[in-house]
Symmetry: C2
Subunit: 351 residues, 2 copies
């Protein structure tokens, strides 16, 4: 199964299938982490033929996606004397993909890279579209580049070793895609179970189709691509406050979706019924739905570190029904704080 | 006087004239160093109108063009809450321009920047063409990006405070341009004196025209742009060995040109007469012409860290006459080492 990305300066294919045999007449550096490497490196190496193959292992986890590890990776590229024709391969989740992509965009002013995502989250979202980068003390993905991969190979075989919690985290991005773009897909998600292989493959395919369509229209997020950040404006603040370690990204996205929906609802965009439907779908997969806001003003201030905010305005992506959204950068500060107020209690699991 | 750069994704103007008045409806961050800022910040601030203006000062010198100072600059961008619509302005020489350009290419995945070069070297070469980056322990400009400025403003007023040694260093890049592309310009340089204002303006204009023409054909150095690296293959090794501190960049380029000419001559490309003419022009400006190679094998090995080398081949730009060159990546190792042998004596000034 093939999906194309078509950009003026770059075209590439996303393959959803068993990983093909790959032959390269150049040096290849595979970037992975100890866990993924332990499970899957052997499988990958059986499929790859190259002039020289090197392997670099980075520590596992979002809080290692920083400049320090980026420099470590770049130094290994120099150690192995990679040149401008060499290729980097990211074997792992979003952290490995983002760091490998960013390193390949600035190593000697740019070399090629390939994405082989091994988590559901990176298969349905992060591996497609060329956003690369690292986090820093100011926030998430604040240093980075748009650098498209040469190919993306999605093989659900890799998901067999994925812990349930990480698998479920990926579903949050699938739900995001459905709410923003596709009410039919949302209905399909309500009645189908993603633990079944054929359903999972369909959900991956549909999510990537929706994303590929957006990226092909607006690579650098001048307009429509911002819609993919539904739930992420809140999510990034939560991740920042919890040092990228309490929640998996998809978990924070799930909470961010709930918060964005509260805002959309309070502004009269999203109906009570549809807000509940989205809540129920998130609950179906036991994703978290609540984060206790300790300090409303501090939470609010942290929005401004988001890349989407500009001229001191925060950009919110707000569903006005399932499958449709508006982007607003002039939500009143009081309206925002009133919504945050709802998240200041000790959490009590509700319906 | 205007020169255009035309790239598929980017067009911009290079103005060679008194710095115009500039008005921006966005936040502006000016990056400079203490010396240049001391001389010229006031002049620049008189010309700029913007929503908010911030100033960041980086230490002066090629050995500060590293990741550490890049991160310092990025942190200041966050401190001042620059957003994706903000603008960085580089006020300084190549170091300031390269670092500001690189920071603007990766800050929030890319913001605009403007070059206001204050050295001859950056006016005739570095500020044009979008090469940005930093050095590291493996070599020069090895981490970076292609990121075109939105405009380049060249005002020879800034050169009045430039130390003679730095001024002369810039002439090496002018000579490089003439040798590679334009024998008429070379002849003009032989008979005219660049200490005269009108001659200097012509030399700047002609150098930029030649560079703009090459960059417009080949932004990312897939082909013809490599010619601009005439002299630089040797230069980068010398700079590496001397920790970027013994020579100014143009001085190391001058020596690199002499070495490249020796190689071109020994391979039968460049005549004795033309080799001497280039030597004489370099001598006319008291640029250095000799670097003592301590260890031929180590010098040779260090070529391979150059970005231009790939698949274990070193790319040399070799003039076959003045105004014409060949690019070769299969020069015999013995031929290279024989040329390096000529540079192993204690230096005795000759002509």
């Amino acid at each position: 199964m093939l999906i194309d990305i078509n950009l003026p300066h770059s075209k590439y294919e996303i393959t959803i299938d068993t990983l093909p045999n790959l032959t390269f007449d150049r040096k290849v550096l595979i970037v992975t982490n100890p866990k993924v490497g332990g499970f899957h490196l052997k499988y990958l190496l059986q499929k790859i033929n190259a002039k020289e193959i090197y392997i670099v292992t980075l520590p596992d986890g979002e809080n290692y996606k920083n400049m320090q590890n980026l420099e470590f990776l770049l130094d290994r590229c120099f150690d192995h004397r990679l040149d401008r024709k060499s290729l980097l391969i990211a074997l792992g989740g979003g952290v490995i993909g983002d760091m490998t992509g960013f390193a390949s965009s600035i190593y000697q002013r740019g070399v090629d890279f390939i994405q082989i995502p091994t988590t559901l989250l990176s298969q349905v979202d992060a591996s497609v579209g060329g956003k690369t980068g690292v986090n820093n003390k100011f926030g998430k993905n604040l240093i980075g580049a748009f650098h498209q991969p040469k190919a993306v190979y999605i093989d659900t075989y890799f998901l067999r070793t994925l812990p349930l919690r990480e698998f479920v985290s990926g579903i949050a991005e699938v739900i995001k895609m459905a709410v923003v773009f596709d009410s039919e897909f949302f209905k399909w998600l309500e009645i189908n179970d993603l633990s079944e292989d054929k359903n999972l493959e369909y959900a991956i395919k549909r999510s990537i189709e929706l994303k590929a369509n957006v990226v092909s229209q607006d690579e650098k997020e001048a307009g429509v691509r911002a819609s993919l950040n539904y739930g992420h404006t809140f999510c990034h603040v939560i991740e920042n406050f919890t040092n990228y370690s309490t929640y998996l990204h998809g978990e924070a996205v799930a909470i961010g979706i709930i918060m964005a929906n509260e805002l959309a609802h309070s502004l009269g965009f999203l109906s009570d019924d549809e807000k509940q439907k989205i809540f129920n779908l998130i609950k179906k997969y036991n994703l978290p739905t609540y984060y206790k806001v300790e300090n409303i003003d501090k939470f609010y201030e942290t929005f401004f570190l988001d890349k989407k905010s500009s001229n001191s305005k925060i950009k919110f992506i707000l569903p006005n029904s399932i499958g449709s959204y508006i982007i607003s950068d002039d939500v009143n500060v009081d309206d925002i704080k009133k919504v945050l107020e709802k998240f200041t209690d000790i959490y009590i699991e509700n319906d």
